[in-house]
């Protein structure tokens, strides 16, 4: 079976600086994929490439197994629905916007009413169908843009930071919509977010971006710095690793691999840091601890461990992890 996307040897430059460098990336059909990374990691640039809004300076992108030429064919264009980070609704009502999208996609006019009704229903915006953009809240506007993007029933839906600038209730609403869309057969959804835990929770799989490159690291406990031999210097801490990559500038530590203790552990682990517990948050069935050791670490423990350790905010605690738990890239 062909992939939804196949990217080869991609490089994108802005002002003579390479901002995206992807030697190889395959995105399979019928998956919900989270594009994770910090601001400036290249998430929007990659989504723009996948939407064919911009072309890379180097490399090729295959859509459904076919190389896309200078311009997309009608069939290729109809495969893709795209919602930008700050969606722009054109003049007129939500219905007018969806109708124009269908017209531009070359859909037969007799299908307009049915497809508009379906799209509005999927994002729960039917009661607001005749409202203009200026009367909508941020969350409603994003849902209207999603309705406009899915009306022609594309097989790929690209969402750039769909949860940004929204309050919790609207985030929840959008998460439900994405989950429902992802459950539909033959639908590939790719969304970007800088909230790694939210992305990991919603998606079947994640693509992690750091400074324009794809990495297999989970991007939690991500630090930048310099690798000298087996020691990575973040500027504040020296972290032992077994990996040796001459030009590595980043490390990431899996939060599940970090051991929390009230006293320093006598063990074979090479990394021990003392720090102040600055946050305790609940993440689904686990507890996330944030510890400031000069760098901020996130560790995941069970609620039972939290009780047995009797941790409180402000406590000075130790965290330990093996040098093999450190991914270098």
């Amino acid at each position: 079976m062909t992939n939804a996307y196949q990217l080869s040897d991609i490089q994108v430059y802005r002002q003579q600086k390479c901002i995206l460098d992807i030697p190889e990336l395959e995105i399979q059909h019928n998956q919900c994929i989270a594009l994770l990374g910090d601001n400036g990691a290249g998430k929007s640039t990659l989504l723009d490439l996948l939407a064919f809004l911009h072309r890379p300076e180097q490399g090729s992108i295959k859509l459904n197994g076919d190389v896309v030429n200078r311009s997309l064919s009608v069939a290729q264009r109809r495969c893709i629905g795209y919602v930008s980070q700050q969606p722009f609704l054109l003049s007129g009502t939500i219905t007018d916007n969806i109708r124009l999208a269908l017209k531009l996609q070359g859909v037969e006019p007799k299908q307009y009413d049915k497809l508009i009704t379906q799209a509005l229903d999927q994002v729960s915006l039917t009661p607001l169908a005749d409202q203009t953009a200026s009367t909508l809240s941020g969350g409603q506007l994003k849902r209207a843009a999603i309705a406009r993007a899915i009306a022609h029933q594309p097989s790929v839906l690209l969402l750039d930071e769909p949860f940004s600038h929204l309050d919790q209730s609207h985030i929840k609403q959008l998460e439900n919509i994405i989950e429902q869309l992802a459950q539909q057969s033959s639908k590939t959804i790719i969304f970007s977010t800088h909230d790694r835990l939210q992305g990991a929770a919603l998606a079947d799989t994640t693509i992690n971006l750091v400074h324009g490159t794809v990495t297999k690291s989970p991007l939690i406990n991500l630090f930048h710095g310099q690798l000298n031999g087996h020691v990575f210097d973040t500027g504040h801490l020296q972290i032992h690793t077994t990996n040796q990559q001459p030009h590595a500038k980043h490390i990431a530590i899996d939060p599940d691999e970090i051991i929390i203790s009230p006293k320093v552990l006598d063990s074979s682990m090479r990394n021990h840091f003392r720090g102040r517990l600055i946050a305790i948050t609940e993440e689904a069935t686990t507890i996330r601890l944030t510890v400031d050791c000069g760098e901020r670490f996130h560790a995941l423990i069970s609620p039972e461990s939290l009780n047995s350790l009797n941790l409180k905010l402000g406590d000075m605690i130790y965290l330990s992890f093996k040098s093999t738990a450190v991914s270098v890239f």
Partner: protein
């Protein structure tokens, strides 16, 4: 009695009595300017949109030429067209000199760079998300321009009105190319110049007042469009 106040009273009298000669001039002027505005808009607005949407070699140079043409004195346009349309000129056989067509051509040329620049400004000052949104919705190059024009239609209409306002107030080229022939090429501005030089100050004043009213209506329309534009 005061010369000015007497003339002003007589001018109001001419306007109120719907003086046929007066309104004939107004109609000629409005008709010529309207046609010139439509012709210029039909060429300048698509050209402006295409120029704004595309990057090409020499774009900056073309923009500089447009800016220069905007400041071109109308008598220079009149002079150049006079040379072309005069009996001995290369287009003399068309017998356009001293016809409304000659004035329309001159005014179209005069307002073309103004309208094109306004159309470029309308696209470049539109929401930066407009074009990427239309492309992401499936707009191909050929219908992207049409959709951009639709989305910026109020600003484009303002460009047409501005062009019309510039055309109706033009005097140099209209005088040189139209010849100020009564009932044929006599426009409001050329008539004001002629009537005043003849000592018919009240006729000139009446035309001036009507020109002011037209300018007011144009400005009213422009400020209304500023308010209603999306």
């Amino acid at each position: 009695m005061n010369y000015f106040s007497d003339s002003l009273a007589a001018a109001f009298g001419l306007i109120a009595s719907f003086d046929q000669a007066l309104y004939q001039i107004v109609l000629t002027s409005v008709g010529i300017s309207l046609i010139a505005a439509i012709i210029a808009a039909a060429l300048a607005i698509p050209a402006g949109i295409v120029m704004a949407l595309n990057q090409f070699a020499g774009k900056q140079f073309l923009q500089s030429i447009l800016n220069t043409l905007m400041a071109m004195p109308t008598v220079v346009i009149g002079l150049l067209l006079y040379g072309l349309f005069s009996r001995l000129g290369p287009l003399g056989h068309l017998e356009l000199l001293y016809t409304p067509t000659a004035i329309i051509i001159a005014e179209s040329i005069l307002i073309f760079p103004i309208m094109m620049n306004l159309a470029i400004a309308a696209v470049t000052s539109a929401d930066p998300r407009l074009v990427p949104t239309l492309i992401s919705l499936g707009a191909k190059p050929k219908n992207l321009s049409i959709q951009v024009a639709k989305q910026t239609r109020f600003i484009m209409l303002a460009a047409v009105i501005t062009g019309f306002g510039r055309a109706i107030g033009e005097v140099g080229a209209a005088m040189m190319l139209g010849g100020n022939i009564e009932g044929y090429t006599r426009t409001m501005t050329t008539a004001i110049a002629l009537e005043t030089s003849k000592g018919e100050f009240e006729m000139g004043l009446a035309l001036g007042l009507l020109l002011l009213i037209i300018a007011f209506v144009i400005n009213f329309l422009l400020s209304w469009l500023q308010r209603v534009k999306p």
